[in-house]
Amino acid sequence: MFEDANIIVGLEIGTSKICAVVGELGADGALNIIGLGQSRSRGVRKGEIINPEYVEEDLRAAIFEAEQMADVEIRSVYLGVSGSHIRGFNNRGRHPVVSADREISEDDVQDVIKNAKAINLPAENTVIHAVRQHFSIDGQDGVTHPVGLLGARLEVDMHVIHGHANRLQNAIRLVRGTQLVVDEIVFTGIASSLALLSNDQKELGALVIDIGGGTTEYVVYSDGVIRHTGVLAVGGDHVSNDLAYGLKVPLSRAEKLKIEHGAATIADAAAGQTISITNEIGLELKRVNVEQLQRIMSLRLEEIFQLIAEELEQAGLTNYLRAGVFLCGGGSRVPGIVELAENIFQMNVTPGHAAGVSGITAALDQPEFATAIGLAKYGSIKNRKRENKSSLAHGFKGVFGKLLSRS
């Protein structure tokens, strides 16, 4: 049995599956994935829990499987959260440097960060992450380490991700109810981007899109820091639902058709092609036009990308994505999705897989597991920091800015 402190578990309660990834922290601080457990999720819609009983049952199954595989006892997890209530925005904090010699001290930095986090949120919302971007001294931007420099006015940009407190608590309480400790909650979009992107790519600028079952998360990195985050409560479930509606087949059948014949672009070969739907004993019930199927899918996926592209355009980030777009989540498995995304974003699109972690390759290559792996990676970075600075505050309101921005 391993030392408990070295075991880091990422837990994602997703719309289509609940997934737990067990990582082991090596002596050098590198993360090694040693276990993976998953179960079909029945109690989640659009990333949010609607049936706690089902979720608890599925959660136990996933944790049990992960424990079996890794041969460890899981005590605490890094929990991924998502849902349409989660929003991100940038906020700037200001602080006058008052010391006589105008040298910026560690205290000044702490103060300016505190100011940047003092934001007006609706009463029911709570901050999930407050990620530091860059400092600016007397209007000079792009300062990464202001301590020791001279200046009169210190400013800092923060990216604040916040969500509905009760909805976040729901997931936390549920996990706690299964006798697990929640180390921290992490926005799943950030987790996925941690798993997918290398430091170089973060520096160059990259967009990570995680197309999940019920939600699509997107995160923009540029100059090594998080610039933009967002959640669209639209995902693979919507594709299935569209198909069920458009082709007039039951949802379960639509799901199957999506997996077997789905595509993000309409294949030339699909024109006029039909698939017959048969019942258990092989009697034909209905014929489904493949072109129609692919058109419905293509329109939905195209819309998801367009909405994201529009938002980034408005935020003025399109030109900063020099490393391109990275896709993960179950939706990135759809044939042709890379071409579709390339068409819409007009840049390089890469189907992502978890880099920078070692371990069970079968798990690392699956785009669905990127989030859970990213959660474990988040934990490993956090752990490393904790060793360096044992006094770091607990709880999800802690200062993770430094970790995330410089990881």
Binding site: K46, V234, A244, L251, R295, I296, L299, R300
Partner: protein, 415 residues
């Protein structure tokens, strides 16, 4: 759209051969109004089941659909009979459409002949290789629900058979008439409006365009947006004509003082004037229209016709996909499937196709008339089944419910 640098001379590509078919009695009346010199190039054809009214028609070509079984009584107001007769004579109709590039169908839906023949005729014309655009009126509310049902059914069929349908619900005419308007006058006004629409489209397609509007543009505009399309044709002359047409346009009762423009999601604007049409005028008109339109997609065309001299004519066709956002988008799937209107998963089918409600919805402000039938309108909210997302919090993005299938919101036909 194709931007041509200069006015094409007479030797330019041949004009499309246009045949205008009028079906039923109402169609015949409309056709009579069209027998003006400007339509001299068009081939007018009257199709009817009623020999008497056919005889009175000024159309050079007449097709009488008759069957011994009905003993000269025509369709008797039964669209099924009209349809049966038309289908029997399908080859005759088809051969009548031969050679045409564009076929216009004029009809008043609700009766037997117009409702029954038009969809079959549209199909025949399509098979003969023509593009089909139908101009139809829907009956007044007071005409009874049988005519209304028949008209709706026919409209559905027509939509799937024709390339484009421009429909004018007669009920909107109430905005144009007052208490003392005679019945005859009322029908004349309805007919007049439709004829104006035909004239506008006719000019759009036949006059050499500086900024040409293709038939495809027109069809793309009206296709699957039939639920609510409105058109207006205005003209003005004199030095301040650009300002005047804009004023007239915005005061046009069918555009509801410009409100229709603001709500529509695609607008086609075609300007036609004499040789002295200036860019400033085009600009002034378009600027105003754009200001009214908000976020609508605008297709613009401009043409010059020396014969018009000082006149400036503007045709506006505004199409709107839905009245209440996503809810009304439900109307679209019905387009591809005229027969089955039921939603997925055993949703109860609305007794009357949703279009009707939408059309009625717009007329809320009209003065309530003694004769108008009160219809308990159905809230269009339950029409689209969101399937598994039915009970979950809607995913709203800029006022659009993303849980509703994309293809429905975008009005992509599935057939």
């Amino acid at each position: 759209m194709n931007l041509q640098p200069e006015i094409p001379g007479p030797e330019a590509a041949p004009k499309p051969v246009v045949k205008i078919f009028a079906t039923g009695n109402a169609g015949g009346t409309l056709l009579a109004a069209l027998a003006a010199p400007e339509f001299a190039d068009a081939h007018l054809v009257a199709v009817n089941t009623d020999a008497a009214s056919l005889a009175a028609s000024p159309a050079p070509v007449k097709i009488h659909l008759e069957n011994k079984l009905f003993r000269g009584l025509g369709s008797g107001g039964d669209a099924e009979r009209g349809r049966a007769l038309a289908e029997e004579q399908f080859s005759t109709l088809k051969s009548a459409c031969e050679g045409a590039n564009v076929v216009f169908i004029l009809a008043g839906l609700g009766g037997g002949a117009g409702s029954g023949i038009s969809p079959v005729l549209a199909k025949a014309a399509r098979e003969a290789g023509a593009l089909v655009l139908a101009f139809v009126t829907l009956p007044f509310d007071c005409e009874g629900n049988r005519r209304e049902t028949q008209a709706q059914q026919s409209l559905e069929q027509l939509k799937s058979a024709a390339d484009g349908v421009i429909c004018l619900p007669s009920q909107t005419i109430f905005k144009l008439i007052d208490e003392n308007t005679s019945l005859l006058e009322t029908f004349r006004v309805t007919g007049g409006l439709l004829v104006e629409g035909v004239r506008g489209v006719w000019q759009l397609l036949t006059r050499p365009g500086l900024i040409q509007v293709h038939f495809a543009d027109l069809c793309a505009l009206v296709r699957d947006r039939h639920a609510e399309n409105a058109f207006a044709f205005v003209e003005a002359a004199g030095p301040g004509r650009a300002r005047e047409v804009v004023e007239k346009l915005l005061a046009h009762p069918l555009l509801d003082e410009g409100r229709v423009l603001a709500e529509s999601d695609a607008v086609l604007v075609s300007l036609l004037a004499g040789k002295d049409l200036t860019m400033a005028e085009v600009n002034r008109v378009m600027e105003q229209v754009k200001r009214q339109c908000g976020h609508a997609q605008i297709i613009m065309g401009a043409a010059v016709d020396a014969a018009l001299k000082e006149k400036l004519c503007v045709t506006v066709i505004a199409a709107k996909q839905s009245a209440t956002g996503a809810a009304a988008a439900a109307a679209t799937p019905a387009v591809s499937e005229p027969v089955r209107l039921s939603g997925r998963g055993g949703q109860p089918a609305p007794a009357v196709p949703p279009h009707r409600e939408l059309v009625l919805g717009r007329g809320v402000t009209r003065p309530r008339r003694a004769g108008a039938k009160m219809v308990q309108s159905q809230l269009p909210l339950t029409i689209v089944s969101k399937g598994r997302f039915d009970k979950s919090e809607p995913t709203l993005h800029h006022g659009e419910d993303l849980d509703v299938p994309t293809f429905i919101r975008r009005g992509v036909p599935m057939n």
